[in-house]
Amino acid sequence: MREIKRSVLILCILMLVSVHAAYAGGTSDSSAASTGGYPQNPITITCPPAAGGGTDLLLRALAPVLRENLGQNVLVVNKPGGGGAIGFSAAAKDKPDGYNIVALVAEVLGVTHVAEVDFSFRDFEIINMINATYGTLTVNAKAPYNTLQEFLDYAKKNPGTVRFSNSGVGGPWHILAAAFASQAGIDIIHIPFDGGGPSAIAVAGGHVEATTASAQENEVHIKTGNSKLLAIFSPERDPRFPDVPTGAEAGFEGQLITVFRGFGAPKGTPPEIIKILDEAIKKTLDDPRIVDFMAKQGFTKDYLSGPDFYDLMAREDEIFRVQSKALGLGAK
C-alpha cells in the first residue's frame, strides 16, 4: 500500500511540475502574428463535411498546390458532425493567428436555422469563394414528364403526392425544393435523407418522384439511365449536360440557391493575412493541375472576393431564413 502511495505521489508531482513548467516557461505569443514572414507554421484547414465527400476531395486536391504557393504545409482536417455544426463551431473558436482557416460551405447558413448553434457566418472573416454548385430538378427516368413544365403540370394535377428527396432537414436541397414549390405554387412532400448521394439514389430507384440535388450527385444515375435531368437551377448551362436547360430557360424564373464553397478564418484574423491567403488561393485555382482536376471532376471555378462572397451569403441566408420558417424548422 505504501508502495502505491509513493509512486502515485511521484507521478502527480511529475505532472504538476510539467504543467508549471509549461505555463511559466512558454507564454506563447498568440497575439498578432507578425505578418512579416507569414506564414511560418503549417496551416490547418478545417473541413466540416466528412472525408470522401466533394468538399473534402476538392480541398485535398488543392492542398499540395496551396502549399507550394504559401511555402508552408497545408493540412486538411475533417471535423464532421451535426450537419457541419461541429466543424464550424470549432473553427469559429480557433485562434485568429492566420494558421487556422475553414472551408465555408452552404451548410454554414442552413444549420443555423435548424438548430441552436453558437455561430453564424458573420463570425468569420471571409477570404474568398472558389466554387459553386447548383441544384437541379432530377426525376426518375421512367416518369411520364420530360420537361420542367410537364412536371409542374403533373404536380398541380396531383397535389400532395409528389415527393422530393433532399440531403437533410434544413439543408440546401431542402430549402431549394421549398423555394421552388412555393414559387411554382405546387404542393409537395419533403423526404430527408442522409446526404445528397442517398437522395439521388431514392430517385433512381423510383422511391420518390424528384430531387433537387446537384448534377454531380445525380451524375452516376443519369449515366446509368435510371434518372433524367430536367433542369439545372444555375445561371448558365452545365457543360457536362449541354442539352439540359437552365431553370430560367425552362420557364422558371426562380430563386437560386448557390451551394458555395469558400474559405474563411476566425474573426480577428489580421486583414493583411487574409489578403495573403486570398492571393495564394487565387493562384492555386489558376494552376494548370488544379484547373485540370476541377474540370475532370466537374467542379466549376466560380471566384468571388471576400466582400462579394459575404454579400452572397447574406442574400442566401435570407432565403434560408424565410424558407426554414415556412417549413416550421428552427429553434423551438
Binding site: A51, G52, G53, G54, D56, L57, R60, A61, V77, N78, K79, P80, G81, G82, G83, A85, I86, S89, A90, V114, A115, E116, V117, D118, G160, T161, R163, G168, V169, G170, I189, H190, I191, P192, F193, D194, G197, P198, I201, A202, A204, G205, G206, H207, V208, E219, V220, H221, K223, T224, G225, N226, K296, Q297, L329, G330, K332
Partner: protein, 497 residues
C-alpha cells in the same frame, strides 16, 4: 483482351500495391478506433497520382484486410478493432482465455478468406443481375432489415435475456442523442454542439470493450500474469476445418447478400450470421464459450460483404456499405464511372479489379496465417506493460476518427460504464448493436411513413420489406412458441398419465 487483363493484374506494381493495401488494411483494422472506412478515406488522396486500376486496388486491398484485421484484437484482447468484428468477441476471446488464441485467429483467417472468395465469385459471375436488387431498396426495406437486426439481441444476450434487453435499451437510449434527422429536433444535447452530432459508434465501442477490459485487467495485475498460449495448436485443426466449412458457406452467402443491400455492411452481417449459426447449431447453448463455428460465422460473413458491397457500387453507383460509399468518390476521380458502360468501355479495368480482389484475399490469408505466431506473442506481454499501451492506443484511435477531443471523453465514460456493466454481468454486444441499428431503424421508419403519407401498409405492400419483417417476427416468437408446444405436450403427458 485477356492478355491485357493479365498484364495489368500481374504487373509487379499492381501486385505490390495490393500487398501494401492488404497490410495497411489489416493494421488499420486491428487498431481499435480506426475503421476500414477511415482507412479508405485516408488512403484515397494517395491514389490520385496512381493509375486507375492501381489506385482502386490499394483501396480494395485495404477494405479486404481491414474487415479481417478487426478480428485479431477482438480475439486477443476482447476488443473489436472495427465494428464488423463486434460479433467475433463473443466467442473469440474465450479461445484466448483457454490459451488457444492461435487457433482462433487461424479459424478467423480461413473463414474470412472463404467468405471473401465466395463473395468474389458471386461478384464476378452475377454482378449485374444482383445489382438490381440494390435499386429496390429504400427506407422501408432498410427499416425492416434493422428491425430484424434488433431482434437478434435476444440471440447474443448470453445467459440472461433480461440483461441483454437492458443493454439493448441502453444502446437505444444512447442512440437517441443528437439531432433528429427527420425534423431537425435536437434530443438530449443539453446545449452542447458536440452532442448534437450524436455519439459516434467507434468511441463508444472502443470504450465499452477495450477500456473496460483494461480496467478488468488492472484488477488482475498481480495475478499469475499470463495465460500461456499453446503454440502447437497454432493452426486450426483438420477437425476444425471440417466443422466450419458449411458455416463459411452460409456466412459467405449471407454476407454477400447483406453487402449488396445499400447501407448495410459487415457490422450487421456479422451479427446476423452469428445468430443464424446459433439457430442451426446442434448445441446452441455452447455459443459464447468458444466454438469454432461461432467465430467462423461472423468472420466469413463480414468478409462476404466486401465483394457484395462492390456489386451495386460498380454496376449502379450505389454503395453497398460505408466503405464503398467512400470508394465511389475514388472511382469518379479515376474516371471509372459506374454503370453498364463501365463493363463495356473499360472491361479490362473491371476484370483487373475482380482478379485483384481475389488476389487480395489470398494475400490476406497468407499474411494472417504467417502472422499468427506474432499475434500470439502480443498476448504474452505482461499486463503491466500491455495495459498502459493499449489505453494510449484507444485514446489515439478515438481522437483520430473526427479529430475531436470530446470523442476521447466519450470513450472514457463508455469505459467506466462498460466496466460497471461487465461486473454486473450485463452483455456489451447488444449496446453496440442497438447503437448501430437504432438510428437506422428509427430514421427509416419515419422516413418510410413520410413516403407513404402516414400509411403503415407501406412495409407490407413492398415484398422485400414484408419478407424481413415476417422473418423477424417469426424469429422473435419461435422460441416462445416452441416452449409453449413443449409445455403443452408435457401437460398432455401428465394429464394422460
Amino acid at each position: 483482351m485477356a492478355l491485357e487483363v493479365l498484364s495489368l493484374t500481374f504487373d509487379p506494381i499492381t501486385l505490390l500495391t495490393i500487398l501494401v493495401g492488404v497490410t495497411a488494411g489489416i493494421s488499420i483494422g486491428a487498431m481499435p478506433g480506426l475503421t476500414s472506412t477511415m482507412g479508405i478515406a485516408l488512403l484515397m488522396p494517395l491514389t490520385f497520382a496512381m493509375e486507375a486500376h492501381t489506385g482502386m486496388m490499394l483501396l480494395i486491398g485495404e477494405f479486404v484486410g481491414a474487415i479481417y484485421g478487426g478480428s485479431i484484437t477482438a480475439i486477443l484482447i476482447n476488443t473489436p478493432g472495427t465494428p464488423s468484428a463486434a460479433a467475433t468477441v463473443l466467442d473469440g476471446y474465450p479461445f484466448t482465455k483457454r490459451g488457444e488464441s492461435g487457433r482462433a485467429i487461424g479459424i478467423s483467417t480461413v473463414a474470412s478468406f472463404g467468405g471473401g472468395i465466395i463473395s468474389g465469385i458471386i461478384m464476378i459471375l452475377v454482378a449485374p443481375v444482383l445489382a438490381n436488387i440494390a435499386l429496390k431498396f429504400s427506407a422501408p426495406e432498410t427499416f425492416a432489415l434493422a428491425f430484424f437486426g434488433i431482434s437478434i439481441i435476444s440471440s447474443i444476450s448470453g445467459k440472461s435475456l433480461l440483461k441483454g434487453l437492458f443493454s439493448g435499451a441502453i444502446g437505444l437510449t444512447l442512440a437517441l442523442i443528437g439531432v433528429d434527422n427527420i425534423t431537425g429536433f435536437t434530443r438530449f444535447a443539453f446545449g452542447s454542439t458536440f452532442l448534437m452530432g450524436g455519439l459516434a459508434v467507434i468511441p463508444v465501442m472502443v470504450g465499452l470493450f477495450a477500456m473496460s477490459q483494461c480496467f478488468l485487467s488492472i484488477e488482475e495485475l498481480e495475478a499469475t500474469n499470463v495465460i500461456t498460449q499453446k503454440i502447437k495448436s497454432a493452426l486450426p485443426t483438420k477437425q476444425d476445418l471440417k466443422t466450419i466449412w458449411p458455416t463459411i458457406l452460409r456466412g459467405g452467402l449471407t454476407g454477400t447478400f447483406i453487402g449488396i443491400i445499400p447501407g448495410a455492411g459487415g457490422d450487421i452481417s456479422a451479427f446476423v450470421s452469428y445468430d443464424m449459426e446459433r439457430r442451426v447449431s446442434k448445441h446452441p447453448e455452447l455459443f459464447g464459450t468458444g466454438l469454432p463455428e461461432a467465430i467462423a460465422a461472423p468472420e466469413s460473413s463480414n468478409n462476404g460483404t466486401t465483394g457484395g458491397a462492390l456489386i451495386p457500387l460498380l454496376t449502379l453507383g450505389i454503395p453497398g456499405d460505408s466503405n464503398t460509399a467512400v470508394m465511389l468518390g475514388a472511382l469518379m476521380i479515376h474516371n471509372l464511372i459506374p454503370g453498364p458502360m463501365l463493363f463495356v468501355q473499360q472491361a479490362a479495368v473491371v476484370d483487373t479489379l475482380f482478379i485483384g480482389f481475389m488476389i487480395a484475399n489470398v494475400f490476406m490469408l497468407i499474411l494472417g496465417l504467417l502472422g499468427i505466431p506474432l499475434f500470439v506473442k502480443i498476448v504474452q506481454v505482461p499486463r503491466k506493460i500491455l495495459v498502459p499501451v493499449i489505453i494510449v492506443l484507444c485514446l489515439v484511435g478515438s481522437y483520430a476518427i473526427n479529430n475531436n477531443y470530446l470523442d476521447v471523453v466519450v470513450m472514457l465514460v463508455a469505459g467506466v460504464i462498460g466496466y460497471a456493466l461487465v461486473k454486473g454481468g450485463f452483455p456489451l454486444s447488444p449496446i453496440v448493436l442497438a447503437l448501430i441499428l437504432g438510428p437506422m431503424a428509427e430514421g427509416n421508419l419515419r422516413r418510410s411513413l413520410v413516403m407513404s403519407k402516414g400509411s403503415v401498409m407501406i412495409f407490407f405492400e413492398r415484398p422485400i420489406s414484408a419478407a424481413f419483417i415476417v422473418i423477424a417476427v417469426v424469429c422473435l416468437f419461435l422460441p416462445i412458441i416452441k416452449r409453449w408446444i413443449v409445455m403443452y405436450r408435457n401437460f398432455k403427458k401428465s394429464s394422460a398419465a
